[in-house]
């Protein structure tokens, strides 16, 4: 089932992504103030949305793992957590490139930039704990992911609350229809790709968990 799901999602992403690129560059008007460089927006913003969604999924799954000792939730939390790193890296690298072209400086220490970097750091810590931590750190890492997901509303409200150079969260509503339609057209393949990657990683993690259990049962039959 999971295999079919991620195959479909990744196929959809592979077919849709070139169409989205064509639409962004050929069928969408150039923004008057920023010029051609604004085209980064159509992939930077969906990546940021996917990062926040993946962080919430990871945090909620971690909470379920803590409360119910669910190993499925543990696998989902880790899968979504790793995808936060991938999307977060994309956001944190494409953002400064866009900023360099429009603001003249790649990093302005504004609230949203800092809190996005913090979310990325929290999930770096989570993945580090999961991969490098001793046996028994799974629960500590899950606690970390649950707290990390709390950072998402902070990022959302940071722009509204603090003085910032970053566009506000209402910017999508103020775009002309041709631009926001393209934004959602570009969101679909990115979301499909991100969901597909989470599903693949979940599948691999579940297989590894089962393999771990088999190894443990073989080395110590009494524990099984």
């Amino acid at each position: 089932m999971i295999r079919i799901l991620w195959s479909v999602l990744l196929c959809v992403a592979a077919v849709w992504f070139p169409l989205a690129v064509a639409r962004v560059f050929l069928d969408t008007p150039i923004e008057r103030e920023m010029g051609t460089v604004q085209k980064i927006f159509y992939f930077h913003v969906p990546m940021a949305w996917c990062m926040m969604l993946a962080a919430i999924v990871s945090g909620v799954a971690a909470a379920v793992q803590l409360l119910r000792n669910s190993r499925r939730a543990e696998a989902l939390s880790l899968a979504a957590g790793e995808v936060v790193l991938v999307t977060g890296l994309c956001v944190l690298l494409t953002g400064p490139i866009w900023g360099h072209a429009t603001w003249g400086t790649p990093w302005t220490w504004d609230a949203r930039q800092v809190s996005t970097a913090l979310l990325f750091l929290v999930f770096c810590a989570f993945v580090l704990l999961r991969t490098q931590g001793a046996a028994g750190t799974e629960r500590l890492a899950a606690g970390l992911a649950a707290f990390g997901a709390l950072d998402v509303p902070v990022i959302y409200y940071a722009v509204k609350v603090w003085k910032t150079t970053h566009p506000t969260t209402d910017v999508v509503g103020t775009l002309p229809p041709s631009m926001w339609r393209t934004l959602f057209f570009a969101l679909a393949p990115i979301a499909a790709c991100v969901a597909g990657l989470v599903a693949v990683r979940y599948h691999v993690e579940r297989a590894e968990q089962q393999l771990d259990d088999l190894f443990l049962a073989r080395s110590d039959p009494a524990s099984s």
Binding site: G35, V37, I40, E82, W98, H100, L197, V200, R201, E208
Partner: protein, 91 residues
């Protein structure tokens, strides 16, 4: 639309040889200004494209690296599975 570019600041030579017609409404200063604006626009577009290439290149590289990482994990998983089934068949 084509124009003959002339230096309107210089007077026409006397005697009528090498006569030329001055273009009305197009002076050198405005043409230079136009060229400057075009050059700036071209530089901005070139810079924009450079930024876009970097941004898209990074996106693709990061995602590709993660896919490679996942592929390596799957390869290792298969190897572990093979060693487990080898061990099981030996015992």
């Amino acid at each position: 639309m084509t124009h003959r570019i002339v230096a309107t600041t210089q007077p026409a030579p006397p005697g009528g040889q090498d006569a030329y017609e001055p273009v009305v409404g197009r002076d050198l200063a405005s043409i230079e200004l136009e060229r400057q604006i075009e050059a700036r626009a071209a530089a901005k577009t070139a810079s924009d494209y450079a930024h876009i290439v970097w941004a898209y290149g990074i996106l693709w590289t990061v995602v590709t690296l993660y896919v490679l990482y996942l592929y390596r994990r799957v390869v290792r998983l298969r190897r572990d599975l093979a060693s487990l089934s080898d061990g099981a068949s030996e015992s």
